[in-house]
Symmetry: D2
């Protein structure tokens, strides 16, 4: 996230992302011709969104984040939705847009965790607390107010989410595991120490760690969602391609997994006549 | 479809659909305030797309078309895709857009039938043929060139599609079953008379009749797709509302209907090292 | 909104919206064949979403709601977005999906007003207040807490929004202007009586009245957004059709309305070398 | 593109893209945990879509392709559409889906060029021709049949498109500029040699070279569109983020670039009465 307020210019529209000149395209001020062959796609991704070139450790951390949730079998709403969509409309872009639209508050959005981490860090600085004290306070408040801490827990993993741990390790090794991320981890430790046995098994999940790393890299919550969604698109492209080659058209929900519980059949003429004479509400 | 070429004005953008004045909104020249309470939604739909008020018989025919494919259980790609999408992203507009995107060349698009009907009609007029002669010629040509005639055949119905017949009857009664539609029906008769026993069972299906009526009403093929898709949205809204109230999140493809046939597990370090030394292609 | 909790059946998926039998399709229990020619599209829309046939006055009110925001020149984000989209991807469904996605918390969503109206009504009943007393209390609380009341104010209209008034009049005449809607109007009166001169000019706008009528008709907030968005699609189809016939491809933001304020040109090789040696954060 | 036909298994759904096991996720057979930190995002992109690990030169070429069309000021339909969309619906995923949907047959789709290149290559092999002979034949046929050769010409560049040349150079240096790509280039030379002076200035453009490289890397035409669209998303995320921070809501088409040429105002009551008595068509 470019931290300075955008220079909005004097016309109705304004952008600082890129500009087109007579014989070249400037991407955040750099000639596109130099970026082709000069940067990996991940590095260009950083440049476009943040407005400056990344350092090598930032590229390493971002690449790890972009690999964290690559694909998940047929257990993702977006994958299922995209395959259904292209079975009726065999269009790559329609399928991709469909998958993008399946990401939101229940899945693939690190925004909530990111806001929690940022708020926790801000409150610690305001209070002049140690990381341990802040974690203790925040977990206590959450327990008192029965608030859920975002980014904890995973249906398949107990105590540790191996993918999340790998991502964290790379962030640590890259030097991008700063105080915000450390506080989030300390909050997890304090949470586990005081939680019920069942909740004490909850690891920081992949989205939680992803949010922690992206906070350290300075992305805004909305930009994080954009990155998380984009990182799933190679898998989406692969699924759409596989679906199109399957030769199946007009996919349905198979009867073996579908109920139609309302078995009543109604008489239209009878009900419509009755409805026609119904008095105003 | 407004038949005159659009007046494009002298500026970059131009529209004749509606305009906003100081104290009123003009829809195709009519004060919106008069349309509220003055027209049914179907009639306004006609006005907006065709640029003129419909006659009563046109409203009757259009209402019948808009009711022809209201919903289809869980057997529609768009319904499935929309329900998956909102199980991850609980947003009405995201779900609706998803359902819209599932319509295309395999489903819900009367465009192909419409172009066939229009071309058949145009060729008949050019040749100065009777409807019967044109139908004979067109079916013969299709047989010789092994071309599929669009709008024929339905998985559930033989000989007659009752919904399509009802729609046709209303069009006939409304006086909007003109020569294009009659030729299409005659083509169907000629097709059935000469087809193999199995193909001779194929009825004109709902999309075929829908296209025939919409050709008579003067809509363009793209506008027909727009109308067909819009007509399914009340059902889509109902499905999305039902899905959101179900309380289920992050829908998956259930294991009982999913195969993961590639059981091979590969060794990343080994393959990556090998790959790293692979010579250029 | 069907008020009973959905019967979820015993399988993974379940729906009560429609079912397909061997020789017919049942829509909320009614044979689709009877609805074709039996109902207007607006009435079918009511049936699909609410699960029962509408009374005549409900159809009248719903038709008025569906006509309230038909189109708005080139002043709607969704219209602009859809026209840009099809200038790159000439697809009716892609354009329609794009317009749908432009509706949200800043436009075309009566959800917020609907929740306000429903909450106000519920609190009045809980308190056993008269409509006047409840309105006085609610406006006072909003003023104290500096809360904005949704659905008030319009950029073009002062004191009265003529479209909103027309819509209300039809709802009154149809007998669907009940206590919730009356309370909302009384809240507006109390607000105007105590507001600053500038705010006292604010009318109830079209979305506010639309929400009030849809609350009386018993739709859920999400369903209201679905209906509002669907009601704009005839206009969207007309705009897309007009755009496709314009012959223009790859629309841009014209230079006369675009600024590119960041004029700095950077040197990639220099900055990239420097970046490469940057220490960890 | 995985070249073997997909093993569809025996159940309704089947995938070979990834699978979820008790304690790990397998991506094309590899443990996701190994890919995090083991591959760049571009390399994972190759793995997911093609089903095997890339060689280093393939990663280099793919990274160059993914950087070729990063952003283009406010001259892209998808950028404009996405910014309009989020001005009404401030949602990152809605904006991204909107941008995706603006890609199609007029922009950002290398599919047409890819099919041309593949067909040319296939016909050369079938005829046993040299590259020069095949190029001569193909350009002659195109001239006779007045066919446009896809991927030639750019509004801003004459003779050479510098971005396209840079991309080609990297492909050559990486050893992924094979016979298909060479034939395409030879076709361009033969075209220029025989074209009118104006057409002789046409370079191979960025999309043409992108298609040539992606053909050599073995992607299917649909997968190429997926990759091209995905490669623009960092720019899209940046534009959406910039738009959201601008504080502007409900963007319109500014009056200075909009015409409303149809100035006629019509009388609803008069026309509607007349329409009501119009005889059947």
């Amino acid at each position: 996230m470019s931290t300075s307020p955008p220079d909005t210019g004097t016309k109705y529209w304004s952008t600082q992302v890129s500009r087109v000149e007579d014989s070249r395209v400037l991407i955040r001020g750099y000639d596109l011709q130099d970026l082709i062959g000069g940067l990996t796609f991940s590095a260009s991704c950083f440049l476009l969104i943040k407005g400056r070139l990344p350092a090598p450790n930032e590229i390493t951390a971002l690449d790890a984040v972009l690999n964290a949730v690559l694909d998940y079998g047929l257990y993702k709403p977006g994958t299922a939705a995209a395959r259904y969509a292209v079975s009726g409309n065999p269009s790559m872009v329609a399928g991709m847009a469909t998958a993008v639209l399946s990401a939101g508050s229940y899945t693939l959005a690190p925004e909530e965790s990111a806001r929690f981490i940022t708020d926790a860090h801000t409150s610690r600085l305001a209070n002049g607390e140690t990381i341990a004290d802040a974690a203790h306070r925040i977990v206590g408040t959450a327990a008192d107010q029965k608030l859920r801490i975002p980014g904890f827990g995973h249906p398949a993993f107990k105590h540790l989410d191996p993918r999340a741990q790998k991502l964290k390790q790379i962030a640590v090794d890259s030097g991008v595991w700063g105080e915000s991320a450390q506080l989030y981890e300390e909050i997890h430790r304090a949470f586990v120490a005081t939680a019920s046995p069942k909740k004490a098994e909850m690891p920081i999940n992949d989205v939680g760690i992803m949010a922690a790393v992206l906070v350290e890299l300075g992305f805004s919550p909305e930009e994080m969602t954009g990155l998380a969604v984009m990182s799933t698109l190679p898998g989406v492209i692969a699924h759409i391609s596989e679906e199109m080659r399957s030769g199946k058209r007009i996919r349905v929900i198979p009867d073996e997994v579908a109920d139609y519980p309302d078995t009543e059949t109604k008489n239209f003429d009878k009900d419509w006549s009755a409805s026609a004479w119904q008095p105003a509400l």
